[in-house]
């Protein structure tokens, strides 16, 4: 039986080149281009991550309803297929562009940069990038965001931070979603907070329910504060 090709030993003498080529270099380069492009506009950019079905779109709909008179919001939403999420978000009165990743498990910076060509972001206070539902791959891709917000819903179990550490390590805020279901499911906000803070001690945690409104004031306040900080930094710079 022949060896797998990749295990074949090199033949003859070899020349070695030591390199430090970064495999994510291309993505990071584009992420910087996104930051440069948005910098003059002082738009707060949030990368919203979670498992599929944790309530990202519902959160954005509800946030839109609550803050549409105070903040100008826009959404780029990524899904492997369909435009369903964009339709839902537009119904809440928020400008939205669907990024169809064509089966890919995460959004890459290039998709966001292209999205910006087709999306009117001027005058926005906050741009949400709703990532593909997945706690693994999106963690590796910088999309030019200011903050990464990760949702974990009460129905998916409180063991997720330890299972998907990189996502929680690279997030600034963890939203425990579907808090209205906490009385019915074996999920401890305290335990999930402890596990997540073992990985990332600076992580902020808010438990929310987009359906009954619990924690939504706190989330909206967080958002408004970050928008204000972004504008202030823009004025000072």
């Amino acid at each position: 039986m022949s060896q797998p090709k990749s295990n074949r030993a090199p033949v003859g003498s070899v020349q070695c080149e030591n390199t430090t080529l970064n495999l994510l270099k291309a993505n990071d380069f584009v992420a910087k281009a996104i930051r440069d492009r948005l910098a003059p506009h002082d738009i707060l950019v949030l990368n919203i991550c979670s498992s599929p079905g944790s309530g990202k779109t519902t959160l954005l709909q509800e946030t839109g309803r609550r803050l549409k008179d105070t903040l100008k919001m826009g959404v780029l939403v990524g899904d492997p297929e369909t435009e369903r999420d964009a339709i839902r978000i537009r119904e809440a009165g928020i400008d939205c562009l669907q990024i169809v990743t064509g089966g890919m498990c995460h959004i890459e910076a290039q998709m966001v940069l292209q999205g910006l060509d087709h999306f009117n972001y001027e005058g926005l206070d906050v741009l949400f990038i709703e990532n593909v539902g997945n706690l693994v791959c999106p963690a590796a891709f910088d999309l030019g965001e200011d903050y990464r917000v990760t949702l974990i819903s009460s129905t998916e179990g409180d063991d997720k931070p330890k299972k998907y550490p990189r996502m929680f390590l690279t997030s600034e805020l963890m939203l425990v979603s579907k808090a209205d279901l906490l009385p019915y499911v074996p999920f401890s906000v305290e335990a999930v907070t402890q596990d997540a803070k073992d990985i990332n001690p600076d992580l902020e945690v808010i438990a929310i329910s987009s359906l009954n409104g619990a924690g939504m004031n706190e989330w909206c306040k967080w958002l408004e504060q970050k928008v204000a900080e972004k504008k202030k930094a823009g004025i000072e710079a």
Partner: protein
């Protein structure tokens, strides 16, 4: 996961970096941090799969080295190798998230066949 696109990424990076020598490339050495979730075995399978499409790289082999996660303590400055994703300083027990190793995704060495 996205191993296939990463392997394609490796080749396009190298094609950009060494355009004249790609027909001589024989070995590619990667160093990846544990936090990247890249598994050497899966990278190997993805590499073999991409070679089916790219027969000109049939003589090339892939070598993946995984680095553990290390953090530097903001309080005492000690460096700790993180076990079981517990981001706590081994010396003073302060929690910390200042990762100094573990997020790498690097091509560290490329071997070319010597023609002379």
């Amino acid at each position: 996961m996205h191993e296939i696109s990463l392997v394609r990424n490796i080749f396009s990076t190298l094609e950009h970096e060494f355009p004249e020598r790609m027909d001589k490339v024989r070995g590619i050495y990667l160093t990846v941090g544990l936090l990247t979730n890249l598994h050497p075995l899966l990278m190997q399978s993805a590499f073999d799969a991409v070679l089916l499409d790219e027969p000109r790289y049939n003589k090339t082999s892939l070598h993946v080295k995984v680095l553990p996660i290390k953090i530097k303590c903001a309080a005492c400055g000690a460096e700790t190798e993180v076990q079981q994703y517990k981001f706590i300083c081994a010396e003073c027990k302060t929690p910390g998230n200042q990762v100094i190793q573990g997020e790498e995704m690097l091509i560290t060495q490329v071997e070319f066949e010597d023609t002379e």
